[in-house]
C-alpha cells in the first residue's frame, strides 16, 4: 500500500484533514478495480475476429449447402446489430452526444463490418450493382457517414473516411498510406485533393461546431494522406515542379503544427514536424544541387547533427506552450 505514505505525508504537512485521510484510506482499499479497457479491447478483438471469420467463411463455402446459412447468419446478425444500436440511440445534436454504452457502440461497429463483408460479397458473387463499381463503393461510405453523425461514433466515422478513400482508389489507413500506388501523377493528385478536402471538413466541423470532436479524425487522416502523398510524389518525382511540392508540404506541416498547438493535440505536432523536416531537408539538398554543389557525405552528416540539435532545442523551448504542464 504505497499510497498510505502519501496520505501520512500530507497529513503531517496539514494538507489533509484527519477525516479526509481516513475516508481516502478506506476508499483506496475498497475502490473497485476497473476492467474497462480490458473489456473494450476484448470486445474489439471479438468483433474483428467474428466479422473477419464470417467474411472469409462466405468465400470458403461458396458452392456448398452451408453457404446460404452463412449469408443468412450474417444478414440476421447485421440487422440485429443495427437494431440494437438504433434502439439505444439518443436524440440527434450537432454537439457531442454522450455515448449510450459500450455494447451499442461496439455492436454498431460490428454491424458496419458485417455490412462491408456482405456488400463486397454480393457484388463479387452476384454483381448486385452491375458494372457501376463507383456506386458499390460509395454506398458504404454514405451509410457510414450517416450512422457516424446520427449515432455520434468516431470509429464508424473513420470507417466512412476509409470507404470514401476506397471509392477514390486510395488507402488512408494511418500506417499504410505509403502502400498507395503514388507512382502516377493522377493518383498523387487525387490523394492530395482528398486529403485537402478532409482537412477542410475537419476545420469546418471545428469552427462551425458541427460535431467539433470529429475534427481530430478528419484532420489526422486527411493531413496524413496529403503529406504522405506529396512526400512520396516528391521523392518519386511524379509531380512537377518539385519546389511547389516542397512548399506545399512545408505549408501544410506548419498548419498542422499550429493546429496541434491550438488544440493541444501533440500528434499533429509530431506529424507536422516529421514531414516538415523531411521536406525541408529534401528542399535544401535540391537547392544545393541546383546551385551546382554536389551533396557530399560529411557535410550531410554535419547538417543532420546541427539540424536535429536545433529542432530539439526549439521543441524543448516551446515547452511552456506544448508540454501542457506534463500531464495535467
Amino acid at each position: 500500500m504505497h499510497v498510505a505514505s502519501f496520505i501520512a505525508e500530507l497529513r503531517t504537512r496539514g494538507l489533509l484533514t484527519p477525516e479526509q485521510a481516513s475516508t481516502i484510506m478506506a476508499d483506496e482499499q475498497t475502490r473497485p478495480f476497473s476492467l474497462h479497457y480490458e473489456i473494450r479491447t476484448l470486445l474489439y478483438v471479438g468483433i474483428t475476429l467474428l466479422s473477419g471469420g464470417l467474411g472469409f467463411l462466405l468465400y470458403d463455402h461458396i458452392d456448398r449447402i452451408g453457404h446460404g446459412v452463412v449469408v443468412a447468419t450474417i444478414t440476421l446478425l447485421m440487422a440485429a446489430c443495427f437494431a440494437y444500436a438504433a434502439r439505444h440511440r439518443r436524440p440527434f445534436s450537432w454537439a457531442q452526444v454522450p455515448s449510450s454504452g459500450l455494447l451499442p457502440d461496439y455492436l454498431l461497429l460490428l454491424g458496419c463490418l458485417l455490412f462491408l463483408a456482405l456488400e463486397g460479397y454480393l457484388q463479387a458473387q452476384y454483381t448486385l450493382f452491375g458494372t457501376r463499381y463507383g456506386l458499390a463503393l460509395i454506398l458504404p461510405a454514405a451509410l457510414f457517414f450517416y450512422l457516424a453523425y446520427r449515432l455520434d461514433h468516431r470509429g464508424v466515422l473513420s470507417m466512412g473516411i476509409t470507404a470514401l478513400a476506397a471509392w477514390a482508389g486510395l488507402t488512408v489507413q494511418p500506417l499504410s498510406v505509403f502502400e498507395n500506388q503514388f507512382l502516377t501523377g493522377s493518383v498523387s493528385r487525387a490523394a492530395i485533393g482528398l486529403g485537402a478536402a478532409l482537412l477542410l471538413v475537419g476545420w469546418l466541423s471545428e469552427t462551425r461546431h458541427r460535431k467539433a470532436h470529429f475534427a481530430y479524425t478528419y484532420v489526422l487522416l486527411g493531413g496524413n494522406l496529403l503529406l504522405a502523398a506529396s512526400t512520396a510524389a516528391m521523392f518519386e518525382e511524379v509531380l512537377r515542379p518539385a519546389g511547389v511540392l516542397v512548399l506545399l508540404i512545408l505549408g501544410v506541416s506548419a498548419g498542422l503544427f499550429w493546429y496541434g498547438r491550438r488544440t493541444h493535440a501533440a500528434i499533429f505536432l509530431l506529424l507536422g514536424a516529421a514531414y516538415g523536416y523531411v521536406a525541408f531537408t529534401y528542399g535544401l539538398f535540391l537547392l544545393l544541387s541546383l546551385v551546382g554543389n554536389d551533396v557530399v557525405f560529411e557535410p550531410a552528416l554535419c547538417y543532420f547533427m546541427a539540424s536535429t540539435a536545433a529542432a530539439v532545442w526549439f521543441l524543448t523551448h516551446l515547452k511552456r506552450l506544448t508540454s501542457t504542464a506534463a500531464h495535467d
Binding site: E9, D27, G52, G55, L175, S176, F304, T316
Partner: protein, 409 residues
C-alpha cells in the same frame, strides 16, 4: 550519485497523480488540490507522448550522424597507423567507445541543465549510448579472442560470456541509475542468455533449460517483490512493473509446449521438431499457467497478472492450433469472436454495479470515455472487410486494400 534523475521527481509525480484521483472522486476539494500541487511543484520536463516520440527520433538521428562524423575522423586519422589485421574492428570499436562516452556525458548534462525526465531525448541518448558501448565491447572481444575458425556468437560458445558479462554489468548499472524499464528488461534477458549459455555447454543442460528459465523467472519475481517494499519504490515503479510482467511471461514461456519443443529442435539442429520427453508436464503447464494468472489477476486484483494471463491464454490457443487444426481457421475465428463478444456482453451486464471488487466503469469518472480518438484510428487501421479470394474472377469485390482481420486461430 547512484540515481541519475532527481528521486523527488518520481515521488512528486505519483503524489500529484494520487491527489488528482482523490479530487475526481470528490474526497478533496479543488482548492485543496491546488495547494497540494503548489506544495509539490512538477519541476521536470516531460512533454506528451507524441512529442516524446519526436524528440526521440530527432536525437537518435543526430546521435547517429555525430557518431558517423566521429568514425570518419578516426578512420582518416588512423590511416597511417596500422593495428595489424584487425584494423577495421579496432577503428570501429574506438569510435563506438568514444561515441558512447560522449553520449553518456551529454545525457548527464541535459538531465542537469534541462531537467528532462524520460522526455524522449534522454531515453534516446541512454539507449544508443548503451548500444554503442555493447558494440565496442563486441569489437574488442572480436579482436582479443584467440582465433578459432567459425562463429562465436552461438548460444553454446565458450566465448559468449566475454561479451555477455560486461554487457550485463553495464545494463544493471544503468537500470539502477536511470530506472528505465527497457534497460532493465534487456538486462534480465541478457541474464537469461547467460544462464542458457552455461547450461548448453554441458551435455544434459538442454533438458534442464526450461526449468532453469522458470526458476530464474520465479527468482526475479521474488526479487521484484522484495525491491517493491523499498522506500524508493516510486523511482523504480515502471521498472519493477515491467520486470514483474517479464518474469510472469518468461515463467510461462519456459513451460510452454510450443516454445520448448521448437527451441529444442532449433538447438539440436533438427528440421522437424520431435515429441518431447515429459510432454505431459508441458501440456499441463501450457494449459494451467494462463488460467492461474487470470484467476490470480482477477482475484487480487492485479493488472500485470491479468494482462499477462490474457496474452498467455492467447498463446496457449496458438500452441494448440500449431499442432492440431481443431476447426477450419475461418470457423474457429468466427466462433471465438462470437464467444468473446457474448462473454464481454455478459461481463458488462454483470459488472454494471461493482461486484467482487471489480467494475466495468472507467477509472476516471470523466464525462466521455478517454481514448476514443485513438480508438477511431485503430478502427481506421484494422477494420476492413475480407476481400474476394481471387481478384480476377468477376470484378474483384473492390473494398479498399488490406484484409486486416485474418483469423489465425
Amino acid at each position: 550519485m547512484i540515481k541519475a534523475y532527481n528521486p523527488t521527481w518520481a515521488h512528486q509525480e505519483a503524489l500529484r497523480q494520487a491527489a488528482r484521483r482523490w479530487q475526481r472522486r470528490g474526497q478533496i476539494s479543488q482548492p485543496q488540490l491546488q495547494t497540494i500541487n503548489e506544495t509539490y511543484p512538477l519541476d521536470f520536463y516531460r512533454p506528451v507522448i507524441y512529442l516524446r516520440i519526436l524528440l526521440f527520433l530527432l536525437v537518435a538521428l543526430g546521435y547517429f550522424a555525430a557518431t558517423g562524423i566521429l568514425g570518419l575522423f578516426i578512420y582518416s586519422a588512423g590511416q597511417d597507423q596500422s593495428f595489424g589485421s584487425n584494423h577495421e574492428e579496432i577503428v570501429f570499436g574506438i569510435t563506438c567507445l568514444l561515441a558512447s562516452l560522449g553520449g553518456h556525458s551529454l545525457l548527464l548534462n541535459i538531465i542537469r541543465s534541462s531537467r528532462t525526465y524520460r522526455a524522449g531525448s534522454d531515453q534516446a541518448l541512454l539507449y544508443i549510448s548503451l548500444g554503442l558501448a555493447a558494440a565496442a565491447i563486441f569489437c574488442f572481444v572480436e579482436t582479443g579472442r584467440p582465433s578459432i575458425g567459425g562463429d562465436w556468437l552461438t548460444l553454446n560458445s565458450p566465448y559468449l560470456p566475454l561479451l555477455l558479462l560486461p554487457v550485463l554489468g553495464l545494463l544493471i548499472l544503468a537500470s539502477v541509475s536511470y530506472a528505465d524499464p527497457l534497460v532493465a528488461a534487456t538486462a534480465y534477458l541478457t541474464g537469461l542468455a547467460l544462464v542458457a549459455n552455461i547450461l548448453l555447454r554441458f551435455g544434459s543442460g538442454r533438458l534442464l533449460l526450461p526449468f532453469a528459465v522458470m526458476a530464474a523467472a520465479a527468482g526475479l519475481y521474488y526479487l521484484v517483490r522484495r525491491l517493491g517494499q523499498r522506500a524508493d519504490y516510486w523511482y523504480y515503479r515502471s521498472c519493477l512493473l515491467t520486470l514483474q510482467a517479464l518474469a510472469l511471461a518468461t515463467f510461462y514461456l519456459g513451460g510452454n509446449y510450443l516454445v520448448v519443443r521448437e527451441a529444442n529442435a532449433a538447438l539440436s539442429g533438427e528440421l522437424i521438431s520431435q515429441q518431447l520427453p515429459f510432454a505431459l508436464v508441458f501440456y499441463l503447464l501450457t494449459a494451467v499457467i494462463p488460467l492461474v494468472y487470470l484467476a490470480y489477476g482477477l482475484h487480487r486484483p492485479n493488472r500485470v497478472w491479468l494482462l499477462t494471463g490474457l496474452a498467455a491464454l492467447a498463446f496457449s490457443g496458438y500452441t494448440v492450433r500449431f499442432y492440431h487444426s481443431v476447426l477450419p481457421p475461418t470457423l474457429a475465428s468466427a466462433l471465438l469472436g462470437a464467444f468473446l463478444v457474448a462473454l464481454m456482453a455478459l461481463a458488462l451486464r454483470y459488472l454494471r454495479t461493482p461486484r467482487h471488487g471489480l467494475t466495468a466503469a472507467s477509472d476516471d469518472e470523466a464525462t466521455e470515455r478517454p481514448g476514443l480518438n485513438l480508438e477511431a484510428l485503430i478502427v481506421a487501421q484494422t477494420a476492413h472487410a475480407p476481400q474476394a479470394p481471387e481478384p480476377g474472377f468477376q470484378f474483384g469485390g473492390g473494398q479498399s486494400g488490406g484484409g486486416g482481420a485474418e483469423g489465425q486461430w
